[in-house]
């Protein structure tokens, strides 16, 4: 079996992830922050240590600015719904995932002005159009760091400059890049960063979060969910302190424990090391696929300009048939269709059919890439 669906979720996870989760369940698992006994304190300590890991990963000084959520979608919903009011203006790009577009379209109905900046056919945002659209009075700019369809990496620092010059905040959707690329939130100028734990961070599903920049003012951001936090229990109003303001209900301690182990593994292995390997494999995959007649590649031609996400279509084939044939006949696990990103596929010219997405990760090898190329070649020649 060849797993090339890392953009959906990474698999297999490093063994330390399951070990940390088992250890949490067997030895740690009190309710963090609720009771005062040793198991509750141990659970809270595990979660705090993972906050430190995440903060360090993104260059944040205060670990309490790391807010854990069940996934990146909820982190994006927290930021978008918590910041925007009717009459506000928000600017985004034509490469966004539905986890951004759907909350924005819902707010549009409530009177928020939503402006979508076009992107070039390879997915790169049109910076001139961005500059012209993000005018004074814009409250928020939301940008996908790298496309989940074609891996295109956006020039985040340039977009941050444009946003800040107009007095707007920048929310970065780092679903595909947290763990895949080095990210220094301050150097990039990112006010709010939404991440998932189960893709390039190699943690379990059910983990993610919103990281508030050290200079971001939390009074601007309403909570999405309110409830028990274990703190300020005498009051029926939500507390203001971080991270409790945004973390109601018992957290996913076992998942967060796994995420912590994953981030330690990532740090020991090296993001740069994995990135270099992924660039090499992506380059080989792009080169091999380019030589197949009837196969069309989308996204930036250079592996350096994208995460290890390659999207293709094959002349004479429905993408769904390619996906099934790859799975059934070659044991190659890909993802086909629209990838929850109709806007991105419109930009790429692949809407509504979609593409076959091949996304690589640390466990892939050169022989995996060669097998994928050989399979696609056979499929192309069989029509």
């Amino acid at each position: 079996m060849i797993y090339v669906d890392y953009a959906a979720t990474s698999w297999p996870k490093p063994p330390c992830v399951a070990e940390a989760m088992t250890d949490y369940l067997e030895h740690t698992g009190g309710n963090p922050g609720r009771s005062g006994h040793r198991l509750s304190i141990a659970a809270a300590r595990v979660i705090y240590e993972v906050r430190e890991e995440v903060a360090s990963l993104f260059g944040i000084a205060d670990p309490l600015r790391v807010v854990f959520t069940p996934n990146v979608t909820e982190a994006l919903n927290l930021a978008i719904n918590g910041l925007l009011d009717p009459q506000d203006r928000v600017v985004t790009t034509a490469m966004e995932h539905n986890s951004v577009m759907r909350p924005l379209r819902a707010l549009e109905k409530a009177g928020v002005e939503v402006l979508v900046v076009p992107c070039h056919p390879d997915g790169q945002v049109d910076l001139e159009a961005m500059r012209a659209t993000v005018t004074h009075g814009t409250k928020l700019v939301v940008v996908n760091h790298a496309s989940n369809v074609v891996g295109t990496i956006q020039p985040v620092a340039d977009i941050a400059t444009i946003a800040h010059e107009a007095g707007a905040l920048l929310l970065l959707d780092a679903a595909q890049t947290a763990g895949a690329l080095p990210i220094d939130q301050h150097a990039l100028g990112v006010d709010l960063l939404a991440f998932t734990g189960h893709k390039a961070l190699h943690g379990p599903t059910g983990t993610g979060g919103l990281v508030l920049g050290d200079d971001f003012d939390p009074s601007l951001l309403r909570p999405l969910v309110r409830g028990g936090t274990g703190s300020r229990s005498e009051f029926e109003e939500q507390p203001d302190n971080l991270p409790d303001k945004y973390e109601s209900g018992t957290p996913n301690g076992v998942g967060i424990a796994g995420l912590g182990a994953a981030i330690k593994w990532l740090r020991d292995t090296g993001i740069h090391t994995i990135r270099a390997q992924e660039i090499e494999l992506s380059r080989a995959l792009i080169e091999g696929l380019s030589a197949i007649p009837g196969l069309r590649l989308y996204g930036p031609p250079r592996a350096e300009d994208r995460t290890a996400v390659i999207s293709v279509t094959l002349e004479g084939w429905r993408v769904s048939e390619v996906g099934l044939a790859l799975d059934d006949e070659y044991g190659i696990l890909s993802r086909v269709g629209l990838h929850c990103s109709p806007a991105a596929h419109r930009t790429l010219g692949t809407f509504p059919e979609g593409t076959v997405r091949l996304s690589l990760g640390p466990a892939n090898t050169r022989s995996d890439v060669e097998a994928v190329i050989a399979a696609m070649k056979e499929l192309a020649e069989s029509r």
């Binding site: 963090p32 005062g36 809270a44 705090y48 309490l64 703190s231 229990s233």
Partner: protein, 85 residues
């Protein structure tokens, strides 16, 4: 017998941060359930040797840890010791 003090925080996450900072700085501290006469919050406070009060206070202040209160601990029962630093 040691006299203890407690530092009170707005949440257990903040208490965890205070504990980590104090331990890294070499202080013997322990998280204990919040005494009811200190606060009606559930959760924990950080107990320390009262003689180390000024050092711990300045450590937390420099790290911008949100401290609600620092006070001596009134003990009505035995409450265990501090772990060695």
């Amino acid at each position: 017998m040691n006299e203890y003090g407690v530092a009170v925080f707005p949440s257990s996450s903040v208490a965890m941060r205070a504990e980590a900072l104090a331990q890294r700085a070499g202080y013997a501290v322990r998280l204990i359930p919040t005494p009811r006469d200190v606060s009606s919050d559930c959760g924990v406070v950080l107990r320390f040797d009262w003689a180390k009060r000024s050092g711990i206070e300045s450590l937390l202040r420099e790290a911008k840890v949100d401290v609600l209160d620092v006070r001596p601990l009134r003990q009505s029962h035995r409450t265990g010791g501090l772990p060695s630093a």
